[in-house]
Amino acid sequence: MLDAELYLNLIRGGTANLFRNRQTINDLNVFPIPDGDTGDNMYLTLESGTHAHGTSLTEMADEVAQGMLLGARGNSGVILSRIFAGIAKGFKGLEKADLPALLKAMQMAVDEAYLAVSQPVEGTILTVLREGAAGAQGATLLEDFLCRWIASMKVALEHTPEQLDALRKAGVVDSGGAGLLCMAEGMAAALNGTEETAGLAEQSTEIDIDAFTEDSILEFGYCTEFLLRLQRSKVDLDTFDEQVIKDWLSAHGTSLVFFRDGSIVKVHVHTQDPGTVLSKCREWGEFLTVKVENMSLQHHENHMDTRFKRSRKALATVAVAAGDGLTQLFKQMGVDIVIESSQNPSVERFLQAFEQAAADTILVFPNNCNILLAANQAAGLFKDARVEVIPTRTPGEGYFALANLDAEQPIDTLVQTLTESASSVTTGYVSQAIRDTEEVRKGQYIGIGGKEILATGSTPEQVAEALAAQLNAGQADILLLLQGADVPSDAAEQLQAKLEATYPRTEVILHKGGQAVYDYILVLC
């Protein structure tokens, strides 16, 4: 019999196994570039279900599902959260579950997961889930169930490349399906007592100390936050212009968030050297609080202080941006809340943003196809406003959709206009291959458009040029070139000049996107 405690232990076992294998799952990427995050998303989602309490199976399953609903990240995470929502439905009213009840709950999980996706595709996590549930039918003991379940999922997973051409070309199996299998194996190990499950719930999702080891190099610097009280003995409070502090901090750090409220200055800044920042700020005042975190460990998300909440407005916009330059771009456009996120934001992070936006209607621009489901799930959960997700799949789509935002239009028309303008945008990505595939060698640069590799070459600029040609840059009015974090400016400027010369009627605009992984993002409109 499956009771509340065992159910939670199984989930913890699954979480522990996903945690260990998350990078392997991340690397099961259709494109041979390091932007896969399915492992991280599924681990973080599952982990958000492990904090549940409950004496009956019904209560426990509900709490697990609720935790995952809020913690869901990425499309695979959202599907995973729906699987557990389905299981919770199946366990409704039960103190404990016998095998028939478990099998029934598994079927409900399959149904619920299919509902999460508007156009289900075979060869994905859904196939693996369905085949696994079907294969487990007939089991009489929990051990037997897990065994059959795992075996059928393995078979289903192996067949995914035959069902999806993109997987076959890349020589990988479906990452979501692999995550699901990995979770099931962790559950089996927990049942056998070979999986460490204790203490996992205590481990914070936000901090992963293994991310910075004895041999790590400080890459992202420190997230430094403090409240500084300006001191009369140090500055003239009546005439003091906080711009001085702001300017100094801007020159010595990034991602600056800065507020002054009377004599209190609130600062959030990313810096390589928090010591210097703190010493310098003592020239103006003394600290009330200080918090410094190594950003390699940190999953920093929400920096907005709720004390600075704005008054409620009719319409607000929320956009997701990865990279300083993109964040800046959306802020300059007047987006109300920009979710700065190197990782996919969770459903809960979206809910916080909706809360901060404080508006009757909120338009959400996810700007990444892997975030759409989480945004939709959050929109469905938020009750204080009408939330409309504009399905922008790339930052470029978000940008041009926002450019068409006319706040005076009725919301229905507006949503339609914005969705249409997003779909008129073409986005291309340039990145470096990290493994060999049928089409490319490791180390080569590749140009991706839609779901295909359209260009390959030995430099990012060469590939960007070829990609621009493939994407018909000559027919576009604007080519927005987003320069990646690691691309030198002179190379980017030369590329811009070349593209301008090749496509004289197209306005080629270079913007420092500051994004990781992609040397260039080409946005054509």
Binding site: L315, M333, G334, F400, L405, I478, L480, I509
Partner: protein, 288 residues
């Protein structure tokens, strides 16, 4: 004797003002609490330096001049009993004329015999510039005040101005342009299109994607609305993008034949509201 006045918001430079006999009323702008009166505080307008500061993030503000300042400008002509004609920027765009109305009322009381008339160009920068120069031409050829006013009654609405801007922050700061998205800040590559309405207000009929489309729009508007363009100046104004302004001029001539085209630097006070990198055209039209 007829005395003519205009203001620096019309882009008229002191040398042209002198040529026509205009007295130039200086309309101020402020940056960091420092107020500058064009052609009072400087002799020549360094457009490049000014717009470069705006590109660097400065957003200037503009302010209305006071009743006392108007009194100072007009007293001598009121006292001498001259006819006064003030050709000015759009009343709908500023509150400065409230102060002027009070000044004129006071002066009229003091000098009841003096005639004070105004022509509201219902525009700013090149639109006002075109009208100010046409009025100047008429006065030069000896037209009377009544003849000039009669001309203005039918002609002012026949000068159309269309332009595009680069950065909406400036408009957001300076108030509403109807049709423009209120939430929008900087837009890279998307250019809001704006024209001056019959009411003397800025209206945006939409935006254009990319420089080429934005220029197409202006060139097409000249063809669509233009009337007798060959016998009027075509004024092209820009906020520090001379190459773009000349490209526009070239394309207008390519399409509609050789024209008398005047290139104008948008004055800093108007430029405070439209920002750098804007280009516009004013031409004689069927309607605005």
């Amino acid at each position: 004797m007829l005395k003519i006045y205009t203001d620096t918001d019309t882009d008229l430079t002191p040398s042209l003002a002198k040529e026509y006999g205009y007295t130039l009323i200086s309309m101020p702008y402020s940056i960091d609490a420092q107020t500058t009166y064009p052609y009072v505080d400087f002799e020549t307008f360094d457009a490049h330096a000014f717009y470069d500061r705006l590109r660097g993030g400065v957003i200037p503000s503009t302010s209305a001049i006071s009743k006392e300042q108007y009194i100072k400008y007009f007293t001598q002509d009121f006292a001498e009993g001259n006819d006064i004609l003030y050709v000015h920027l759009s009343r709908a765009m500023t509150t400065t004329f409230d102060a002027m109305d009070r000044a004129v009322a006071e002066l009229k009381e003091k000098y009841p015999g003096t005639r004070f008339e105004e022509i509201d160009t219902k525009g700013i920068t090149i639109l006002s510039y075109a009208i100010v120069r046409e009025v100047g031409d008429l006065v030069k050829t000896g037209k009377t005040l009544d003849e000039v006013l009669a001309w203005a009654r039918t002609e002012v609405d026949k000068f159309a101005m269309y332009f595009f801007a680069d950065d909406l922050r400036f408009f957001r700061r300076s108030g509403r342009v109807s049709g423009l998205a209120a939430t929008m800040g900087t837009l890279i590559g998307i250019r809001p299109l704006i024209y001056m309405s019959q009411e003397g207000k800025m209206v945006s009929p939409g935006s254009a994607k990319g420089r080429a489309k934005a220029l197409d729009y202006l060139v097409d508007k000249v063809g669509e609305l233009g009337e007798d363009i060959a016998s009027h100046r075509i004024c092209i104004g820009h906020s520090d993008v001379p190459e773009l302004a000349h490209e526009l001029g070239r394309r207008i001539e390519e399409k509609y034949g050789k024209q008398e085209i005047v290139y104008v630097d948008v004055n800093p006070t108007a430029g405070s509201h439209c920002g750098p990198n804007g280009v516009g055209v004013c031409f004689h039209a069927v309607h605005r």
